[in-house]
């Protein structure tokens, strides 16, 4: 049949066949979500539990120990959430950077020609990745707090730097009218001024970094080992220098194996930062827990935290995918 309408009709039918199931699936998913949400609210009402997101506008009423924003208890709960979110990012982002650097070094260490270095890196990897993160975190925190002196007898490792149980205090560049270096100083029972990294922050940062680093080390090692020796030999035969081989042959090939796995580690690290609440670091989970308890809106607070982690994860994955498409070699190895 060569009527011009037949192919158009077939195309339409094909499109319908393709789309109708998808639309039905989407409708079913939305319907299910609606039904679940409706049930939640209905049941909570029946049990006398109040529901709704209006509480986010109420004053928070609680202090938060450390904050990147100006924050006082009279501000709204949503702002407290924001403070918590920034605190999560403030610890997760540096940990990702540090873990990547450290992990790469350890991974290279495991491939080193020196047996001592190789063994040391091996021991580090095996011991850290086989101990639950929460235990490492608590251990690190209590070691930190019991080793350090009290605020009143803080150590001064460098001029303008104070180290004590209240944390690591560094000079800060402050601009109120004129700009100047503000030095930390003892005032009342604590240390005032300067730029402070609390023991809670340090403990979370250190443990997250180390824990992710040993996994990254394995990924880096695996990635490099996946580059077949034949390719390297070929490059040598072409007269490439070792640095050139690394730059143009090994790295591009290895990164293709490394980057997707690295994304997983970054996602894990960010989610693992939720353990911070165990040592009193006011991350998003800690703030949500407090709000949850002060307002009684358990369901809502959990939903918010889940959405925030989802967004953080999607964002990380997106950035990593962009990076991946840029660095990874096309085609098969």
């Amino acid at each position: 049949m060569d009527s011009p309408h037949a192919p158009a009709g077939a195309k339409l039918r094909k499109a319908l066949r393709q789309w109708i199931p998808q639309i039905l699936l989407l409708a079913a998913a939305l319907g299910l979500l609606w039904w679940l949400g409706h049930n939640v609210l209905e049941n909570m009402r029946a049990r006398g539990i109040q529901a709704g997101f209006g509480f986010l506008k109420e004053p928070a009423g609680f202090e938060i120990g450390e904050s990147l924003l100006d924050y006082t208890p009279s501000q709204a709960i949503w702002r407290a959430f924001l403070v918590g979110l920034l605190n999560t990012i403030r610890v997760a982002l540096p940990a990702i950077v540090l873990a990547t650097i450290l992990g790469t070094l350890i991974g290279l260490g495991r491939l080193s020609q020196q047996s001592g270095l190789r063994a040391a890196c091996g021991v580090l990897v095996e011991s850290l990745r086989n101990i639950p993160l929460l235990l490492q975190l608590l251990l690190c925190y209590f070691v930190l707090t019991s080793l350090l002196p009290e605020a009143s007898t803080a150590w001064h490792p460098l001029p303008g730097v104070m180290l004590s149980q209240s944390g690591l205090f560094l000079p800060a560049w402050r601009c109120e009218g004129a700009c100047h270096w503000e030095l930390p100083r003892l005032e009342g029972f604590g240390i005032e001024g300067g730029f402070a990294l609390t023991p809670e922050y340090l403990a979370v940062l250190i443990t997250l970094t180390l824990y992710a680093a040993v996994f990254i080390a394995e990924i880096v090692r695996g990635g490099i080992q996946s580059v077949s020796i034949g390719k390297i030999n070929a490059a040598r035969a072409l007269g490439m220098k070792p640095t050139q081989i690394l730059r143009y042959i090994v790295l591009p090939l290895a990164l293709r194996a490394i980057v997707p796995a690295l994304t997983n580690q970054y996602l894990n690290l960010t989610k693992n930062s939720s353990l911070a609440v165990a040592v009193g670091y006011p991350d998003i989970v800690s703030v949500a827990n407090t709000s949850l308890n002060q307002s009684g809106r358990a369901f809502e607070c959990i939903v918010i935290v889940m959405l925030i982690y989802l967004c953080l994860s999607l964002l990380t994955a997106l950035l990593m995918n962009l990076y991946n498409t840029r660095v990874a070699l096309k085609g098969s190895q």
Binding site: N39, F62, L134, S146, G188, F189, G280, N289, A298
Partner: protein, 344 residues
């Protein structure tokens, strides 16, 4: 018993439960308890004087004794209680989701909790207030000297908010260090991370005596910055169960007023001619029937652990390590504010 880490997921479990299950029926708690043969009682995970397990897993404390008295009244056996340790954050979800039948867990009665969490407070069993514990060597004598101090506090408590209120009013800056777990919070304090620890004064006395490396190195400051009326709580919507949890502690207070003790309860039941005592111990009118219990309910509750005064002195008063004064928790006619409505 589910592990503590799993219980962190309780709010989620509650939410998932609410996703699917139909609304709870009223009046069913007592049936469930009888069928199960034990009362599920939510207590703290270990506050000396209120609820603390020993090395054999045997619980003791004021909150624990309240639960035992209720089990004795309802099931006829004070030992038919399953204690479920809950930290400050988990407690309300555990009650809402039905994991426990009641909370007897140093929990302050506040409007927000009473009106929005789907639970009801049954009546104060301990009048408390929030205070501060500090190391003696800091030579602090008043909370007003805590300028710039770091203060350890547990999250999910009224204490967190009171702390902010109090120092905001005084225009003094302090820094809270907020822990999810009780143990982590006081460990950090005793390690020197904070210059002060804040919670209910009874709780302070508990950690000072039970957890401090040297109790004498720490003092409780004189300021009492809040009202913390500690009360058991039950889920809303089950009036029969609510009434029982409300009236058993009243019976214990009433018993003290009448001078009925664990030691003399049997002889008084056999011989007392006082109509009030007869009513309470089930030899006069049957007060139990009205609560859906038998006539000996209060007798058994008193027999289980003694009257309120006995429970107090054994767990937190002169016969305990805490040695807390009776203060507000004395009977209304002895200078306190404990006042049980008449059992008649």
């Amino acid at each position: 018993m589910i592990s503590t880490s799993l219980r962190r997921l309780l709010p989620l479990a509650l939410a998932l439960g609410a996703l699917t299950s139909p609304a709870a029926h009223a009046g069913k708690t007592i049936d469930a308890i009888k069928q199960r043969g034990s009362v599920q009682c939510g207590v703290s995970s270990g506050v000396a004087g209120f609820s603390l397990p020993d090395s054999q897993g045997h619980w003791s404390g004021l909150d624990v004794d309240v639960c035992r008295a209720i089990a004795a009244a309802v099931l006829g056996d004070a030992n038919k209680v399953a204690f479920v340790p809950l930290n400050s954050q988990q407690r309300f979800s555990a009650l809402q989701s039905g994991e426990v039948d009641l909370l007897a867990r140093n929990t302050s009665w506040t409007l927000t909790r009473d009106a929005s969490l789907g639970l009801s407070f049954t009546g104060v069993t301990y009048y408390d207030g929030q205070g501060f514990l500090v190391p003696k060597k800091l030579k602090v004598t008043s909370a007003k000297q805590l300028k710039n101090a770091e203060i350890c506090v547990q999250s999910g408590t009224t204490n967190e908010k009171n702390l902010a209120d109090y120092f905001r009013n005084l225009n003094i800056k302090v820094k809270p260090v907020v822990f999810e777990g009780f143990e982590a919070s006081f460990k950090a304090f005793f390690a020197g991370r904070c210059q002060a620890y804040t919670t209910d004064i009874s709780g302070l006395a508990g950690i000072r005596n039970k957890e401090a490396p040297k109790p004498d190195d720490y003092v409780i400051l004189p300021e009492v910055i809040s009202k913390e009326p500690l009360s058991p709580a039950v889920r809303r919507g089950d009036d029969e169960w609510f009434a029982i949890v409300r009236w058993v502690p009243f019976a214990l207070i009433e018993a003290e007023e009448y001078g009925i003790t664990r030691a003399n309860v049997d002889s008084l039941r056999a011989s007392s001619k006082d109509p009030g005592i007869q009513r309470l111990l089930g030899t006069g009118e049957d007060s139990g029937k009205l609560l859906g219990l038998d006539r000996d309910w209060a007798y058994r509750a008193i027999k289980a652990g003694g009257n309120y005064g006995e429970i107090f002195s054994r767990n937190v008063g002169p016969d305990s390590v805490l040695k807390l004064p009776r203060g507000l928790n004395n009977l209304w006619n002895k200078g306190g504010i404990l006042y049980a409505p008449p059992i008649r």
